[in-house]
Symmetry: C2
Subunit: 188 residues, 2 copies
Amino acid sequence: MRPSKRDELVEKALLVFYRHGFHATGMDKLVAETGISKTSMYKHFPAKEDLILAALTLRDKQFRRWLFRRMEQLGSTPRGQLIAMFDGLKEWFAQEGFQGCMFMKAAAEYQKFSDPIHMKSADHKSILISYFSDIAQRAGAEDPDSLARRLLLLKEGAIVAAQLRITKNPAMDAKAAAKILLADALGQ
Amino acid sequence: MRPSKRDELVEKALLVFYRHGFHATGMDKLVAETGISKTSMYKHFPAKEDLILAALTLRDKQFRRWLFRRMEQLGSTPRGQLIAMFDGLKEWFAQEGFQGCMFMKAAAEYQKFSDPIHMKSADHKSILISYFSDIAQRAGAEDPDSLARRLLLLKEGAIVAAQLRITKNPAMDAKAAAKILLADALGQ
DNA sequence: CGTTATATTAACCGATCAGTACGCCATTCT
DNA sequence: AGAATGGCGTACTGATCGGTTAATATAACG
């Protein structure tokens, strides 16, 4: 099944938003970069906000699929998978075109908690916590939610550090810290 | 010398940028919110970017002064000060009008590493690391830089979590994690 | 009081913003 | 072949963007 014109638009818009930001990306620029006419865009999405939300939905799906799969590939045990997350992050940070977390940036530009874009960004992170918590429970953590929240802090911090390039290898810093936290939570 | 108009402008601009974002804040809106004429603004700052940089400089000074003082007040030992940072963060998160880290948001809107705004944001975080590292050394850490980087990850992660409200008490999650990392680094 | 320097209002600039109206052109149905 | 349909590019809308210009108002200082 060939990708529909709509999906093609969302995919390309996602890249442009990710690279240049949301407010900084005008619809005209989107037309120029995607080659899709403005009329078509507004036929699929009545407003820019709807297009942004669609892009975030796609990003959420893409990112989770990639991260979860990579964790499974790199880690053989539940504990190993949690630690492998940071190996996955390292790969992500090293990718050309890495520009930080799209949801963080979206929340930074649309700050109101009631804004659908902000809410969507928060949802993405909540889903990650649930996933981490499930694995933490299988790993035998006494308080899997607590461990999941701590690992999320390390992950988000590492992304910030990578985006700003304030440290050389934030993913491995986070990995080292995660090992210590895991040792504590799982009783070695 | 009477309080300069320039400082007044920067202070007010800082608040508006923090609350509404950078691209979303036009110069006309700044005129409306500060009561300062556009001509005066452009006399002090030749471009919007210069005003943003001045606001970030002020924010850097304000935030560091506040955080470092609070750490000294709440912690009596070097180790205690590092942990007290997260008590300080908790207070910050609870403040009305808390909207996340201004430098994160600035870096999110001005993504190019060569952009002065991005560089300024990264500088702020680097200074924090140095400060943490100094304290970590006084606390007797074997590798104070490494410990400082890990604590920064927790701090940045907590700010993200607080901004997005994805967990209830990110500052205390980070504090608990920090205690574990400190116990490991200081061999207690 | 007059001169000078500074701050103000307000209009204005071209460019761009999100969003819309319209006319061209190819396909399809008759 | 001819009419109708629907997708698409173009050009336009009023509003706002960052930034400038000119004339006026205010204050300081001799």
